[in-house]
């Protein structure tokens, strides 16, 4: 085998080992560390609170979490009560 071929084979073997190591660490983190963290009372309370408010921290777009819909409904109710509120400036002097 040429030296280039040997180098490529070595690099591939290192790559495979690296991939396996990262996957092993990730498995440990996702299957052990994160589930344990999720059981901590303070974190759990905060996560439940966000969930009950319809907030998704990872939302990429407004339609990804229910809180946007709730906000719109509230503002729409206020607008119906007072149509000029959001359109006619009323500066205080």
């Amino acid at each position: 085998m040429s030296s280039d071929g040997t180098e490529a084979a070595t690099a591939h073997r290192i790559g495979r080992v690296s991939l396996c190591c990262v996957l092993a660490v990730a498995s440990f983190v996702w299957l052990k560390v994160l589930p344990d963290l999720a059981e901590r009372p303070e974190l759990r309370r905060r996560m439940d609170e966000l969930e009950s408010r319809g907030i998704d921290r990872t939302a990429m777009f407004y339609s990804d979490h229910p809180v946007s819909e709730r906000s719109q409904q509230t503002i729409r109710r206020v607008m119906e009560r007072n149509p000029d509120l959001f359109w006619r400036p009323t500066p205080r002097h």
């Binding site: 790559g15 495979r16 589930p35 990872t58 407004y62 719109q72 009323t90 500066p91």
Partner: protein, 510 residues
């Protein structure tokens, strides 16, 4: 470089559409066992020839535009429009079939069969608590739709389905990782994990040859954007009246244009597309804006990855810092909420930061961000127009409407058509809002799948060294920080002007 020698070919043809003539000097003819990959972002085509006589990869650079192959009926852009359109029509049919003619609640039975893995805490199995039917349904639908669509239109070889099945499973794995509750709590979205998984594979063992046919990041992005169009309701632009318009319609474009100008004139960033994608994700709404503008200006994959990485990093920082800053400056909830909504990139992070201010702060912050989300349609169309009429134009060419029309990315029309259709539906039908919401419920999971597939492919197609090259000299970071500083300043001034000077009563009425 095309290898020397004449190929004995008869059905293979590659030409630059915009150039109006073939790009190859020679090499036209039959390639009995070949694969063609067009990378729109790089403007290059790669032809893999699997023949004994020429078992090598060759690359050519067309003079702009799409690549055509004999027998090809539609380009990748139109294919994305068709695939996205089929999914939107499917959801529409579901809404009309599920709702019926009698007055009653609006429903979409399609949503029972489409979805992404759910949230889980202790065991990944919790993500399939509903029996996994929506996930399996989505996988089957995407697999059949993309396989049939790409092969029938000549956009992929017969090796696509097997490769696509593997990429779909990777995307499923990523969505499962991102669905862990603690991961979600810290705002680490699937785009990040998809990129990392792809990067890990491509930089360790490399992308196997059999997987290559399905590494089609651009196709998935464009299809996802057409689906996103169904969620962009133009009526939402006026959801917060005049203050919302001024904060989102006036400040956002000013910051976008100024940051782009700063990057070009002051920092002299070489890549205009990188400059534009960072400017857009910082000034509009993070990852979704980066995806849309990257597709509009044909940014390179690693440029999108760089912009998304910077945005995700700063989002976490701003989500923590901004509520404290609002309180330090003594701003009221409403003004502070508007300020955060206009400046924190990620939609999810805005809502979380808003909760630290209180109910009114959260309400205004999420609404301002929603208006910015909707602005994506206008911004991406504007960027596409600017790109084809100014950036891509040769100096000797006169700007002509026909030329602009020929060059503009076609998926934009799918995006706008979907947006206009659902917006009209929401505003003109009796139960329009609810029906638009039901359509959205059907297209949203498909959009997430498409974007996740896209980021997996981008990772698979990216080498660490190209990412490092983008960050060399720190210019992208400087651009982001300077642009964000301007964004913070202008949005603060506009929020104070709107909610404390011109519309002070809003705070009391909410």
């Amino acid at each position: 470089m095309w290898p020397g020698g004449k190929f004995d070919c008869e059905s293979f043809r590659l030409k630059g559409k915009n150039a109006g003539h073939r790009v190859f000097d020679h090499g036209q003819g039959i390639l009995s066992n070949f694969q063609l990959t067009y990378d729109g972002a790089n403007g290059t085509s790669t032809v893999e020839v699997n023949q004994k006589m020429s078992d090598q990869r060759v690359s050519v650079t067309p003079e702009g535009g799409d690549v055509e192959r004999a027998g090809l009926r539609i380009s990748e852009d139109w294919l994305a429009v068709v695939l996205g359109g089929v999914l939107i029509v499917l959801s529409l049919v579901g809404v009309f079939a599920g709702t019926g003619t009698e007055p009653g609640p609006v429903s979409n039975p399609v949503t029972d069969y489409l979805g992404t893995p759910g949230k889980w805490s202790a065991s990944p199995g919790e993500a399939f608590a509903d029996g996994g039917v929506p996930v399996v349904g989505s996988l089957l639908l995407l697999f059949s739709l993309f396989s049939v669509g790409t092969i029938l239109t000549g956009n992929a070889s017969s090796r696509f389905p097997m490769a696509f099945a593997a990429v779909l499973l990777m995307a499923c794995f990523v969505l499962l990782l991102a669905g862990q509750k603690v991961v979600k709590y810290y705002g680490l979205e699937y785009a990040l994990w998809a990129l990392l998984l792809g990067l890990l594979i491509s930089n360790s063992v490399g992308v196997p040859r059999w997987l290559r046919p399905a590494v089609r990041g651009e196709l998935f992005i464009k299809t996802g954007l057409v689906l996103l169009g169904a969620e962009v309701l133009f009526g939402k632009l006026v959801a917060l009246g005049l203050p919302g318009i001024c904060i989102s319609w006036i400040v956002t474009p000013i910051v976008l244009i100024s940051t782009y100008w700063f990057g070009q004139r002051v920092l002299k960033i070489e890549s205009r597309s990188l400059n534009m994608v960072i400017s857009a994700d910082m000034s509009v709404c993070g990852v979704s804006a980066a995806i849309a503008t990257a597709a509009s200006c044909r940014a390179k994959k690693e440029e999108l990855s760089t912009a998304v990485g910077i945005s995700l990093g700063f989002t976490v920082l701003m989500m923590i810092v901004m509520p404290g800053l609002v309180k330090t400056l003594g701003l009221d909830e409403v003004t502070g909420g508007a300020w955060m909504g206009g400046t924190i990139d990620s939609t999810g992070a805005v809502a979380v930061a808003g909760t630290f201010l209180g109910e009114k702060g959260e309400l205004v912050a999420t609404t301002v961000k929603m208006i910015q989300n909707v602005l994506i349609g206008v911004i991406s169309f504007g960027v596409a127009l600017y790109w084809v009429s100014v950036v891509d134009r040769k100096e000797s060419e006169k700007p002509q409407l026909s030329e602009v029309w020929r060059r503009i990315p076609r998926f934009i029309f799918g995006f706008l058509a979907a947006s206009i259709l659902v917006s009209l539906m929401a505003s003109s039908l009796a139960d329009g809002e609810a029906m638009a919401g039901a359509v959205k419920a059907g297209t949203k999971p498909m959009r997430s799948w498409c974007f996740c597939l896209a980021f997996v492919c981008i990772g698979l197609d990216t080498q660490f060294r190209t990412l490092a090259a983008n960050l060399r000299g720190g210019k992208p970071l400087i651009l982001y920080v300077c642009g964000q500083f301007l964004n913070l300043l202008l949005t603060l001034l506009m929020s104070v002007l709107m909610f404390r000077i011109l519309f002070p009563d809003i705070s009391n009425e909410l």
